[in-house]
């Protein structure tokens, strides 16, 4: 059955009318169908989320939260942390059994402490059924053995961000779609004094996104379906050799880059091509300081998906964030009611719109959100949830996949080879050894 946005709105409105008599009467924003959580008496919630990269995301999240409080009387305190600090905070909360009731965590986090999370299967299935189903990738991060450990909230897409005029100046009328032509473009750009730059440092998002694209686009994988480490392979070797060639076209210093370096250098006009979330484009477009140089850069910026490698299809990691409820919360019903409210049509649609392309929907019913066509540059991020490949592909998500990523095994493998600290073969063997420690061979 095809599920359009119009259907969602119609259904939601109908349910809202039918909700008369419930405690949420009069709140069209709290329209529900067949599932109602009654918050515990005196319930108060504390939620920890990541600091916004696009201000509209946080503003709308808080506005939706306010609506929830008005509709239910449940107060929700929303705290924020730098996104890279969420993982340690969540780990500590899970381990000591105290902290925020809800959290927006990253990547494999829910699989690291599944026993400490409140089962939200009922809610996950309800939302999936109502909104056209979950996109498979984000769902994998949020589910384990058929149970929802949390609700997949959003995928933060990663795409090529480039300067159109410089690409044309380098002799390319359009941005290359395959890795071979992409390398030629980067060489030409460097020759023109406009190098590219991709993170080879310990950048949690950018470093991992780039490394996984390099590997997967060439057919390599960290492990096979059974979790056996298969990184030492001819495909990986090809990926490393490709990375070595590409690295020669980079601006110096990318080995030390963390997550913000590429944005900053790009917006300063130092770079022609980076891979990033749409936040870098939004920063230029918003241009709070009315900097004419930034206005010029924003006009010249274009986005597109990362090039397709020898395997012939687009494969990328992206960052997935999942909303989890910790089992220690004294108010599980209030927490579920809150998440339900935030995922319902009105709130979710507005939040995706306000996030300006930064947060990609995980529920298929929101695929046609107007934000994806509001600006041509948003389009590259529209299908992030539909196309992503989970960490630790092709193996299962779990402790091993999370630890392997957290220890930068893949990022280091490429960095070591491209900087000449190891031969491609040595780099692969070391990565294999390190990964085996986590996959316990």
């Amino acid at each position: 059955m095809k599920f359009t946005r119009r259907d969602v709105i119609r259904t939601t409105a109908g349910v809202a009318a039918g909700a008369l008599g419930s405690r949420f009467v009069g709140s069209s924003a709290f329209a529900q169908e067949g599932l109602t959580y009654k918050p515990e008496d005196g319930a108060k919630l504390r939620m920890l989320r990541w600091s916004p990269f696009v201000q509209g995301d946080e503003d709308q999240w808080l506005a939706n939260t306010k609506r929830f409080t008005e509709a239910t009387g449940v107060e929700v305190r929303v705290d924020k942390e730098s996104w890279e600090d969420i993982r340690p905070k969540a780990a500590v909360a899970a381990n000591v059994g105290s902290g925020p009731d809800l959290m927006l965590v990253w990547f494999d986090d829910p699989h690291q402490y599944p026993d400490k999370l409140h089962d939200v299967t009922e809610l996950g299935e309800y939302l999936g059924t109502k909104y056209g189903g979950w996109h498979d990738g984000p769902k994998q991060y949020a589910t384990r053995e058929g149970k929802f450990l949390g609700l997949p909230l959003a995928t933060i897409g990663n795409a090529i961000v480039y300067r159109e005029s410089w690409v044309k100046e380098a002799g390319f009328s359009e941005f290359p779609k395959d890795t071979a032509s992409f390398l030629e473009l980067c060489k030409a750009l460097q020759a023109k004094g406009h190098p590219a730059g991709f993170t080879h440092g310990h950048g949690v998002g950018d470093g991992n996104n780039y490394a996984h694209w390099l590997l997967w686009s060439h057919g390599g994988q960290m492990v096979d379906e059974s979790g056996k480490v298969t990184i030492n392979s001819p495909e990986t070797l090809k990926a490393i050799e490709y990375a070595q060639e590409l690295y020669k076209t980079f601006i110096p210093g990318t080995e030390s880059w963390l997550d913000v370096n590429n944005n900053r250098a790009f917006l300063a006009g130092e770079l022609s091509v980076i891979a990033n979330g749409i936040s870098v484009y939004n920063t230029a477009k918003t241009n709070k300081d009315n900097d004419p140089k930034l206005t010029e850069i924003a006009k010249d910026m274009r986005t597109t998906s990362l090039p397709i490698g020898p395997i012939g299809k687009s494969v990328e990691l992206f960052q997935v964030t999942t909303a989890v409820i910790f089992d220690y919360t004294p108010y599980p019903n209030a927490a579920k009611a809150y998440l339900q409210f935030m995922f319902e049509e009105q709130q979710m649609a507005e939040w995706i719109t306000s996030s300006a392309g930064y947060c990609c929907q995980t529920l298929k019913a929101f695929d046609n959100n107007p934000v994806w066509t509001a600006d041509p540059n948003n389009a590259a991020y529209a299908k992030a949830s539909a196309t992503l490949r989970p960490n630790g592909y092709a193996g299962p998500l779990g402790y091993a996949s999370a630890a392997t990523m957290a220890d930068y095994v893949l990022v280091d493998m490429f960095a070591k080879a491209v900087t000449g600290q190891a031969t491609p073969q040595e780099a692969m063997e070391e990565a294999e050894k390190r990964a085996n420690r986590y996959y316990r061979v």
Binding site: N95, S256, E430
Partner: protein
């Protein structure tokens, strides 16, 4: 006595004991784990990144401590003289110590930025270099850069503590030695240094401990990169234990720091503090 013992038990013995215990388990985030003996240590003994972090930690600690001592002592000796605006200068010297580590680390992050480094810019403007220095991208440069940042931050502690020690040395000893015809070097060698040694021992013990366990500076500047060239044992312990969820292994790395720390303390205690000449005898 009882409150003090309770405090020690709760805040020192228990966390230390728990850390040691966790190092012998396969504990993960959210899972207590079971006793696995020395398996974590066996894994670590065969782990190149762990040994690299040990090397980095020793290099970082030894280099930074020596530099902090030399520069701190030099600064203390200068500040101990009758300078105009003495209090002002002492306050200025304390600044790097007062600024929160994370803030100073962010400042150094900018200073070392591969594209926007003010150092590179200044050297290029002066015509001394023709391209930007890759401070944090090259392994050797990155190690030197983080050591320099740590030295900048740690000098005030050494300088001010030694200055306090210098001020306890009676002026009459200098006067007597001067009357005996002692040179400036002899004054330093035979009056200042012996009387300052107990303070040096304490100061350097703390300085070594702070440096050995440094975390924030590395975490902000490099996250242990490039290719683990600046990973210290503390940052690796955090990365494996918390970010990676391998609590047992993270704890084992932290526990592996204890012998080094104990060695530093014992060296200070037996090697410096209890020298006979400090109690009036010869060595």
């Amino acid at each position: 006595m009882l409150p003090a013992a309770a405090l020690l038990l709760v805040f020192l013995t228990y966390p230390l004991g728990l850390g040691i215990w966790l190092g012998f388990t396969d504990a993960r985030i959210g899972r207590p784990g079971i006793f696995i003996g020395i398996e974590n240590y066996q894994y670590l003994s065969d782990d190149a990144v762990f040994w690299l972090s040990v090397f980095n930690t020793l290099l970082y600690t030894i280099s930074a401590s020596i530099l902090k001592f030399a520069l701190g002592l030099w600064l203390a000796l200068i500040l101990n003289q009758n300078l105009p605006f003495k209090s002002f200068f002492r306050a200025i010297v304390l600044l790097p110590w007062v600024v929160p580590t994370v803030l100073s680390a962010i400042a150094f992050w900018w200073i070392y930025d591969s594209q926007f480094s003010i150092l590179s810019w200044a050297l290029m403007e002066m015509g001394l270099i023709d391209h930007r220095i890759n401070f944090l991208g090259d392994p050797e440069n990155a190690r030197a850069s983080v050591i320099a940042a740590n030295v900048w931050r740690g000098i005030p502690f050494v300088a001010i503590t030694l200055l306090a020690g210098l001020q306890t040395i009676p002026q009459s000893l200098y006067e007597a030695a001067t009357l005996d015809g002692a040179s400036r070097w002899q004054l330093f060698r035979f009056v200042t240094l012996p009387l300052l040694t107990p303070i040096i021992a304490i100061t350097m013990t703390f300085s070594v401990l702070f440096t050995f366990t440094d975390f924030q500076l590395i975490y902000v500047l490099t996250r242990g990169g490039p290719v683990n060239a600046t990973h210290l044992m503390a940052t690796l312990s955090f990365q494996r234990g918390i970010s990676g969820g391998q609590l047992g292994e993270g704890a084992a790395i932290a526990v592996a720091m204890i012998p080094f720390l104990l060695a530093a303390i014992l060296f200070s205690y037996f090697g410096l503090q209890r020298r006979k000449w400090q109690q009036g005898g010869g060595d």
